[in-house]
């Protein structure tokens, strides 16, 4: 069903309660705009979240929604999507929610390729519990729970998703609304699990964590826009580039190596190896960091495979009959 909607139609009547200036506002606006442009029906859209600042998201969408349990949103959304393939199911989660307490559900949802779209708001900190280091905080980060600096090595969410057999992996930045919408668009086109890491500024507990990619000065030096079919270049005048050799990405000067030597990004490559190599360019957004679609490959979805089995079984054995079922391992009559 398509109907023409505006951003307002996608807003619920709940007052939005993030801290003023939080990156979540920008993402919410991008998603609402995108949904209105997409032309899908609100009643066929479901947002499922876990716990954390970002997980308040479903309350603000005029769709069906569930604000669930810390870390469990991918599992709940998987059940919903498998039961109801007719729905468009979105998961909103954060770095603590998805990668710490819910890591297991996230990776298994990815590998199954259930048709859910996962938006991971990565602010590299625990916001709702007031500022502990998270599984994406950089090593050495000083927080209330790591006063002498964190001794944890962080996850690289894109590498993790690629390792978890995700068929769609992308990264974007809260501030860049056009780019965010483009990633949402690509994810919604994709059949199966889609994973989008969104760098999100928590201005209260981890302000300017993404300055290298959003700051006026640094931005053009550090943002590597991945575009399918194009050589990977960046810099104010595209003077830098990326080569991959020995499975490792290397930053080079285009003038020195020539455009033809650069890695040409192939988001549809069957092997995730090159996408993985690109994800290793930056382990945190502190220097040149790729954004865009890392990987987008077709693979049958879990629910389609399951429904096919149901159809096959019904075709070959006929629809189930209770009487036959309960006598399937033999029965006898007592007169």
């Amino acid at each position: 069903m398509t109907e023409t909607t505006t951003r307002q139609d996608w807003q619920s009547n709940q007052e939005v309660r993030w801290c003023p200036g939080c990156g979540d506002y920008t993402i919410l606006a991008s998603v609402q705009n995108f949904m209105a442009d997409l032309g899908v029906a609100r009643e066929n859209t479901v947002f499922v979240s876990g716990i954390g600042c970002s997980s308040r998201f479903p309350y603000y969408m005029n769709t069906y929604g569930m604000h669930s349990i810390h870390g469990r949103a991918p599992a709940i959304a998987s059940g919903l999507a498998v039961a109801r393939p007719d729905l468009s199911v979105w998961v909103v989660t954060g770095d603590g929610d998805a990668l710490s307490i819910g890591g297991n559900h996230l990776i298994h949802a990815m590998r199954r390729n259930v048709n859910i779209k996962v938006l991971l708001f990565n602010n590299q900190i625990y916001g709702l519990t007031k500022g502990q280091y998270s599984p994406t905080s950089e090593k050495g980060k000083r927080t209330k729970s790591s006063p002498m600096g964190s001794v944890d090595t962080p996850f690289n969410p894109v590498s993790l998703a690629l390792g978890a057999e995700a068929s769609f992996v992308a990264r974007t930045i809260d501030m860049d609304r056009d780019h965010t919408v483009a990633m949402l668009e690509a994810a919604s086109q994709h059949q199966g699990s889609a994973f989008i890491e969104i760098y999100q500024n928590c201005n209260v507990f981890n302000d300017k964590a993404f300055e290298a990619l959003t700051g006026k000065e640094e931005r053009s030096e550090n943002r590597i826009n991945l575009e399918h079919g194009k050589p990977v270049t960046f810099g104010p005048n595209d003077e830098h580039g990326v080569m991959i050799f020995d499975g490792t990405p290397h930053i080079v000067e285009v003038a020195e190596v020539g455009l033809a030597s650069l890695h040409v990004h192939d988001a549809h490559a069957e092997s995730p190896a090159a996408a993985f190599a690109l994800s290793r360019l930056a382990h945190g957004p502190f220097g040149p960091t790729p954004i865009g679609v890392f990987r987008d490959v077709p693979r049958s979805t879990y629910e389609a495979d399951l429904d096919r089995q149901i159809l096959d079984a019904q075709t070959s054995r006929g629809p189930g009959n209770l009487q036959d079922l309960v006598t399937s391992s033999g029965s006898w009559v007592v007169e």
Partner: protein, 591 residues
């Protein structure tokens, strides 16, 4: 051994005997051979009358090796019959089993009738021409033993041979070996003088009807499918493999033609979550597990309780805590089912009483979940799960309609109120995604009465807590009173729940047979209790509560009714013996 036992059971069921089984096996898949811990046992009780338990003391014991003999001899009926695989009684093996001399020779078995059978030698001979070689040969010896038993008990041969064909048809040598071994065992009985007495167990006189032999897990799985039909909802079963509940997943996974969706989740929490997601989507959502898994699911069950979505959680209990006795039975999750969650979180608890009761009880649990929009815990246990008995099939055309209509329209003039309750049941409406105009958000934060918006307000929290409590308590008006199988003048009531029902029933029969008076009752609903329970309990001088735990129902009854019942506890990983309960009843009557 389990396979041979199950086959003997099937043959007896088809023959028309009443029966009851008690399979017992080690927690390890290939447990160390010849040790007591590695013994796999299958006890079956067959009769020409209705029976209730697998029996306390078998008449015949087939011991395949010294360890099996040692582990089970104490249970054998005095002067019972022993079929012994003599080839296994080498010094090395009887030493490993803990004997200091060969029990076949030192007088240990003098009180029994011993039928020595060199099973390995005979099996080798029978299998010779099939071409089967190596270690596989001796695997067929269980079929030789099965053949011997078939002869002793006059079981028809053909159905078992057919069954061997269907089971092993894909590997011709194994098929031939097992068939030959089975026939060799049977013929051994016919041709040798060794087997002096055979047992003739005639078909039992049972209530007229069509019967099928079921295990508890099978019947729960079928109950879930039937409940889906009775509720007009597609079935979604999410589970993580765990003993002894996995067979429910296996059975349902085979039933895709019923439209059943099974989801083998990444862990117990994922299974509960997936089920809850499916419930939100309007499916009959079920997750199955055992104790450790129930512990992991508790946070999700609390969310189901807060969001007031219907969901069935099956807990096939086993010995605990922790990994405990994973293949042995126990009833020790009752208090966890009732109280094992954070916050004030009441939910209905229903318990299966036997394999033949499981189908109907499962449907009852689903009925409550849907009507009251609540998670429901259905308790079974390892003994029910794996044990088999004949089940008189209900009229499947006449299953109750337990469907609950989805909300499809606004329930107030201008907006949808997800927490507007039905005044009678206090249940909230179920509007599923895809329903235009009823978009709403639910979640774990406390809800404002009616609107379902997030509410941090204290008095509202108390109001909602009270609603949730009264909703569950009110179910007492919607379940039958507890029935007493009593006798005029009885002063002792035996109250059971779950799998103790059969042993209690059999014990009560024995007591009455001895001329004493006793009453008995069985609880299917553990939360809420039937309305008349307090009154019933109060009308007896003494109430005996046998449980395979340390007195969990006993504790509940004392708390609820300020009543001093007598606890009778057993936690040995096996069911009560009838005699144990009988003796306890007699002790109470006489005291």
């Amino acid at each position: 051994m389990q396979l041979a036992g199950a086959r003997f059971t099937e043959a007896s069921a088809i023959f028309g005997n009443d029966l009851s089984t008690f399979p017992s096996y080690p927690a390890e898949i290939r447990a160390p051979a010849d040790t007591l811990g590695g013994v796999s046992t299958f006890q079956v009780h067959i009769a020409d009358r209705d029976i209730l338990t697998p029996g306390d003391h078998p008449d015949v014991l087939v011991a395949m090796n010294p360890a099996a003999l040692k582990a089970n001899l104490a249970d054998l009926q005095p002067a019972g019959t022993l079929v012994v695989n003599t080839d296994a009684f080498t010094e090395r093996r009887w030493t490993k089993a803990g004997y200091t001399a060969n029990p076949l020779e030192d007088g240990t078995l003098d009180a029994f009738t011993v039928l020595p059978v060199p099973m390995e030698e005979l099996t080798k001979k029978a299998v010779e021409e099939t071409g089967l070689k190596g270690r596989g040969v001796l695997r067929s010896k269980n079929f030789l033993a099965l053949g011997v038993l078939a002869w002793m008990y006059g079981r028809p041969v053909e159905p078992t041979i057919k069954w061997i064909e269907s089971k092993f048809g894909s590997t011709p040598e194994v098929l031939a070996a097992n068939t030959n071994a089975f026939k060799a065992g049977y013929n051994l009985g016919i041709t040798t003088e060794v087997f002096r007495h055979t047992y003739e167990v005639k078909p039992a006189k049972m209530e007229p009807g069509t019967y099928a032999n079921v295990t508890g897990n099978q019947a729960v799985a079928w109950g879930i499918i039937a409940a889906g039909q009775a509720a007009k909802l597609p079935v979604f079963y999410a589970s993580y493999p765990i003993t002894p509940a996995s067979d429910i997943l296996h059975e349902l996974a085979r039933r895709r033609n019923f439209g059943v969706r099974t989801f083998q989740a990444e862990d117990e929490i994922g299974a509960a979550g997936a089920a809850l997601g499916a419930a939100f989507g309007g499916h009959l959502a079920v997750t199955g597990t055992s104790g450790p898994g129930l512990a992991l699911k508790s946070e999700t069950i609390s969310l189901a309780l807060m969001t007031e979505l219907p969901m069935l959680i099956v807990d096939v209990q086993r010995g605990g805590p922790s990994t405990g006795l994973p293949t042995k039975t126990e009833q020790s999750d009752l208090l966890m089912a009732l109280y094992g969650r954070h916050g004030e979180s009441p939910l209905p608890v229903v318990a299966v009483g036997s394999p033949s009761d499981a189908f109907e009880t499962t449907i009852e649990a689903v009925r409550i979940a849907l009507k009251y929009m609540t998670p429901v815990i259905l308790l079974s246990d390892g003994y029910i799960a794996n044990g088999a008995e004949p089940w008189r099939l209900p009229d499947l055309e006449a299953l109750p309609d337990i469907s609950v209509p989805f909300q499809t329209e606004l329930n107030s003039p201008d907006r949808y109120l997800p927490y507007l309750r039905d005044p009678a049941t206090l249940s909230r409406p179920w509007a599923i995604p895809g329903t235009a105009g009823l978009q709403h958000r639910i979640g774990g934060l406390e809800k404002v009465d009616g609107t379902g918006a997030v509410g941090y307000d204290g008095p509202n929290h108390e109001l909602m807590t009270d609603y949730r409590e009264r909703k569950i308590a009110g179910i007492a008006d919607d379940i039958p009173d507890i029935e007493v199988d009593g006798e005029e003048g009885a002063t002792v009531l035996v109250l059971g729940w779950g799998s103790t029902s059969s042993a209690i029933h059999a014990a009560v029969r024995m007591v009455r047979h001895q001329g004493a008076k006793v009453a008995r009752a069985h609880l299917r609903h553990l939360n809420p209790f039937p309305r008349n329970l307090g009154e019933v309990l109060g009308s007896y001088q003494k109430v005996l509560v046998p449980e395979l735990n340390r007195g969990q129902l006993w504790r509940l009854l004392r708390a609820e009714y300020l009543l001093d019942c007598t606890r009778f506890s057993k936690v040995q990983g096996e069911p009560f013996k009838t005699g144990e309960i009988r003796d306890k009843i007699l002790e109470l009557i006489e005291a």
